[in-house]
Subunit: 423 residues, 2 copies
């Protein structure tokens, strides 16, 4: 997962809005009286059960994490995870064409249909040591929070629901997705919504990483690799030829001048540049990698268009002022496309989630990020990404750690949320 | 050697100027009647001798070339070359502190003192295969023309002068220099003129590469490695921090807009750029390598000042518009400094050289380049770089070749020029 820094605690007014109706008569059929729900016997048993068996959940978190799941290499962990789904009693366990693992828990009806998901993949290359070390309450290992935590938590939810006979109106499909991180470009969740479960999902929860925040804003991104190419030549003999590095410079300079709105937060970054072979040669090529982000799809499209115009204009300027020989050519290769989206605070799903947190005595902290939930948000399916409890550090670093202190609260939160959303 | 494309054949008027007095009564004591000189018995013998023994010269060219002389690793070839100097009868053969090889041929007096030089170093790394192949008249091997040819030719001159008893008024020091190429930055010839032979040289000829052209314009250069460095960070979370890549882009764009004169030819090149570690990280650093050149020292200094101002201004602009955190820092590291210089066509030395070509039936073709002669030119010592005859291809490439057809003409040219300039 990639969180933004835009965490915000719900203000009193917003909280009132989010909670309106949550404990009162239901104005929308998707609103649930969470307090009452949490007092039902089977639900209370499930919540007590996940607290009592949190040490099993943590062991499962470690076991999953010690099977590598590098980008585009999730299959070994997927096989382990499918077996784990069978062990907790899920039905119709399968791996889809994209590599996502799915397992079902039927309710009284097929709908409403909740997908409860976590992602299999890590950011770490195949040769990373994935052994997990325990130091008191702290687990250390690559991916231990992001997202072995989510994978273990949703298994715990399935186990608790089976063991306590919780009844739900709708059904839940538990999913381990591939390709959430980086160049994975959400390919698992894209396949899930566009193919495997197309048209069949009403709500989506991704449990991703640590903590208790609710990610209701999906930061979208567009990524490009841009290359200018030309004949190159000798710095002195061939002076006057178009230079790919000059075009790159013009375009980076122009991109750096593009104004972006602070709200909705929108950013641009030229993350890597390169080009040329020798100090005394006109470069034959120059390239850059660009990352554009926004919490708003229109703002992102607008920035995207300006950046592309700047890239094209730099080509024309450099070609226009060359004194000799062939013009430069330009290649713009998309290397990432994550749609932006949001699930408004005033929707039943967010109201329910806020009520779950309140019922469990946790603060309602909202966040924005770039997660699997971006995709369903962008096509109008109510979606949230939630933390799995505990507290993590150094995600996306080999030093990653996860502090299990009170992490059962996260398992409880996801359990109650899943039951509420499947009602 | 690095030649420019600015070759020009001397026009009739310029040629007349260059030749004025060459065949007539001497108006300057450094002018020599080359035609008369070439008819002196010992000189005629020497010229015939180098023609007759050209095959020995070519064998020597191959033998030298099969001892590697990578940048900063010329010592093995230097030792071979010192022995070769002893074999052709030079006196006081030695290797100076910089690694240059020197050997002397005293005339009747110490002055005028001519240095006849070629460079030991190649552009090829230490592990390059240096075996030379012969295919008919063509030799193939890295450095075979640039500058094994020059090294062999000046040895042939020494041998011919010894064998034919040519008398000269002044003395000649034969030199194999280190560090002519690339990052060698003329360190051999700098040491020669600033230390080893400081104040003792009246004229300088470098025999560098193939052909018959006279390089009387020394293209100067300044080279820099420029680095912007900052805190880096996450492309979305830390947006608003100063970006080293943005500063680099601004500075490349500004440098690409600097107007440079066509005459004296002046050029700028950003040859390599790099920076950043990940598409979604604000780069921690960004760097470029810049090559500035001119045939005129003032034009070069002027360009140099503008480029430095652009680099500094880009720093200030990017730091000025940052919204948060630490400013960027800037490092500008000089990695090359070759002074520009020229030996005017109307000087006795150039007139003599033009007369030598005319006497031997060769066209007087002038050139500019960046060679060992830059250094003495820049401190006012009459200097030329001349070709060693034959015709070369693909210098600075492992495919380099040298066609020996009529290459004896080059050996003759250098022989006659050396005798004329030591008179």
């Amino acid at each position: 997962m990639t969180h933004g820094p835009r965490r915000y605690v719900l203000s009193a007014g917003l909280l009132a809005l989010a909670l309106a109706g949550a404990g009162a008569a239901q104005s929308a059929r998707t609103d649930v009286d969470v307090t009452a729900l949490s007092n039902e016997l089977s639900v209370r048993r499930a919540l007590n059960g996940v607290r009592r068996t949190e040490s099993d959940t943590i062991r499962e978190q470690i076991r999953i994490c010690e099977v590598p799941a590098p980008p585009f290499g999730e299959a070994p962990r997927a096989r382990l995870y499918a077996n784990a789904m069978r062990e907790v009693g899920l039905a119709n366990v399968r791996i889809d064409a994209a590599g996502n693992v799915l397992g079902e828990r039927r309710g009284r009806a097929q709908r409403p249909h909740l997908v409860l998901s976590a992602h299999l993949d890590t950011v770490f290359p195949a040769d990373t040591t994935v052994k997990v070390r325990r130091e008191g309450a702290v687990l250390r290992g690559p991916g231990i929070g992001d997202d072995c935590r989510g994978l273990a938590v949703i298994l715990a939810v399935a186990r608790a629901m089976r063991d306590t006979g919780v009844q739900t109106e709708g059904s839940i499909t538990f999913v381990g997705t591939v390709g959430e991180e980086g160049l994975g470009d959400l390919r698992g969740v894209k396949a899930l919504f566009h193919e495997t479960l197309k048209g069949k999902v009403d709500r989506f929860i991704s449990v991703d990483g640590d903590g208790y925040s609710l990610t209701n804003v999906g930061v979208g991104s567009r990524r490009y690799r841009v290359t200018y190419r030309g004949p190159g030549g000798h710095s002195y003999d061939d002076f006057g030829r178009a230079s790919p590095v000059s075009a790159l410079g013009l375009s980076v300079a122009a991109i750096s001048r593009i104004e972006v709105p602070a709200t909705p937060r929108t950013t641009r970054n030229v993350g890597r540049v390169g080009g040329g072979t020798s100090i005394n040669a006109i470069p034959g090529d120059a390239w850059m990698e660009i990352d554009l982000r926004s919490s708003d799809e229109d703002a992102l499209s607008n920035l995207d268009a300006k950046v592309k115009a700047a890239i094209q204009e730099a080509l024309e300027v450099e070609n226009g002022r060359r004194k000799r020989d062939d013009p430069l050519i330009l290649m713009v290769e998309p290397v990432g496309n994550r749609p932006a989206g949001r699930t408004a605070v005033a929707t039943p799903m967010v109201r329910t989630a806020a009520a779950v947190l309140k019922t469990l005595g946790l603060p309602a902290r909202f966040d924005e990020g770039s997660t699997d939930a971006n995709l369903p948000m962008s096509i109008g399916i109510p979606s949230l990404t939630v933390g799995g409890g505990g507290s993590g550090r150094d995600a996306h670093s080999p030093r990653e750690s996860f502090d299990t202190t009170d992490s059962w609260k996260g398992t409880q939160m996801v359990t109650l949320l899943a039951i509420a959303l499947a009602r």
